[in-house]
Symmetry: C2
Subunit: 336 residues, 2 copies
Amino acid sequence: MTKPRNDETVTMQSVAVAAGVSPMTVSNTFRYPERVQEETRQRVLKIASELGYVPNHAAGNLASGQSRVIGAVIPSIKNSSFYNYVRGMQDRVTSQGYQLILKLADTVNQEAAAIRTFVGLRVAGIALVGDEHEMDALTLLRKTGTPVVESWVYNNPFDMAVGYSTADATHAITSLLIETGRQRIGFVAYDSDVSRRYTERVPVFKRCVERAGLGSHRIVLVDEADGFSAGAKALERLCAIDPDVDAIICPTDIVAAGVLFECGRRGWKVPDRLAVAGWGDYEIASEITPGITTLQPHTYEMGQRAMTMIMERASGIDHRGVSHDTGFQVLRRESA
Amino acid sequence: MTKPRNDETVTMQSVAVAAGVSPMTVSNTFRYPERVQEETRQRVLKIASELGYVPNHAAGNLASGQSRVIGAVIPSIKNSSFYNYVRGMQDRVTSQGYQLILKLADTVNQEAAAIRTFVGLRVAGIALVGDEHEMDALTLLRKTGTPVVESWVYNNPFDMAVGYSTADATHAITSLLIETGRQRIGFVAYDSDVSRRYTERVPVFKRCVERAGLGSHRIVLVDEADGFSAGAKALERLCAIDPDVDAIICPTDIVAAGVLFECGRRGWKVPDRLAVAGWGDYEIASEITPGITTLQPHTYEMGQRAMTMIMERASGIDHRGVSHDTGFQVLRRESA
DNA sequence: TCTTCGCTTTGTAGCGCTACAATATTCTGC
DNA sequence: GCAGAATATTGTAGCGCTACAAAGCGAAGA
């Protein structure tokens, strides 16, 4: 024996004895209810709940080699960026009898640790954000064959992906500013080891403004994308390049809101003095005055789709190598 | 046999064979490194990483009856309210070789489902927010003896608790407004089935203003505490009771920010026309102009403490029935 | 040389559950 | 009433890991 014996522990065995059936019938009652006669099922369920029995996932997982738990790694919950994404995942998953568990990871290393935990738990699949991951973690995922979906990305999926075209999106938002007559458009770039996905936007922006005959040198870098204070810094740095900058494209609505706050402090009118564009359609974008013109990715659908892909893998439908496009939308509000 | 055989699967056994040691040595290498000679340990580790071996938690958990995974149920990630709390938990836990997994639950029912998942996973402990839980879930926790910490609450812990005195905090923030000469103080209450903890504040507020000889009828209810739009609604409703209301105490900084946005739309000067107090020290409180006067609970410490309590339980230190006070602080800024 | 002692390593025996095959039971149709 | 089909239930044999006790093995002391 392995475990310090505890006679109190309610096992499938004890439920079976109490209900006068075999353990397998109890097992079937929970996993394949349709295999058990209604009457028997009710009896087992009643006894089980009286005894406070909860099937031991660890044991079930071990025995079946299958798991109904899916792991998702989320970069941050600092602001609401992932709210709808998580909601989408959660909603999709529970309707199928699966469960979603989350881990936060700010850096590639933390992400790798999270992946190891999930693999250790032998989850049914893992949802990652972005396409920058630690080499070792990927090797592990490949070796164990764990289904993986990358979100927010679209090209060259490691396994499966769901997202939208950053290039198209950058093009759309930049074009909007150009079309509304802005001449000195600034761009706020963000780069971190977990979020390389932001950097893709820079060359697209450049190409876009250059094709319109505008300068493409108004680019500054900030070191966080989910803090308001980055907005102030970004504006400051942009003014150092060009004090007459007349538009700014931010990596997130949070940064855009930060810019708005800073404009407030400077007494700048938005959008007259400066047009501000955000990204992500965070709640604050619609609530703040002026409302922030932003790019809305369909994150809820993204979350749902990610889960669908993982769950379908379990039922035999193989999406390996598939990228799903959930599209985006430009939401025009007062700020630009 | 149970599982469709897969010769690819790397088990402790296969690592043991490859390293020329017994499975137990491999097990010890991971669980009790100090029991294995350095040289042997290195060899095992090397082989394990070459083979892409990740210990199967499910099996280990089953065999040992112990788990190094702790589950936390978070009401929402819609805004940053729980950011520092989660960070505190995460930081504390990883330094001890534990892992934290999260589940989101907006309602008591979802919380109960999350608890069931965690219990099914046989986690080492569960961290809950607030003290309103589903009866069945509690019974289950009691029966299985899972260590549970409730956060944000202080009285009558179900098992263990870590939080601060809502009464003292409400008293502190109300007193601040009274002391600065406000006469027509409004209070925004919030009530939902998961967040009864907000309702405690109402009677304290009443007592407080009454003792100062002020009216205690300026109380309105909103139906969400983490959305900016609640701020506009709250102010509207408060004005219906008293158009000359001169101060407002909000359930969260998000609602307070919403009030600020609404003041902006109305052209009301803050704090001249209206003093606004928030709760929670969300990032926006310090970034928005004017800065929001708020109540800062020490959420990071709360998260850390919660994990400590759970992990200590595993090592024999029993905190059953213990409540830990992490205190709070009133942060005075421009809005009040 | 023989014990004794401390450190390492290794069998053994399950942990609680499920796939699968086999068996038991009920239901058809004639 | 009975063969044969359909449905329900039940043993068996592990899944991959770890607690525990027992065994191996040098070094130091007698």
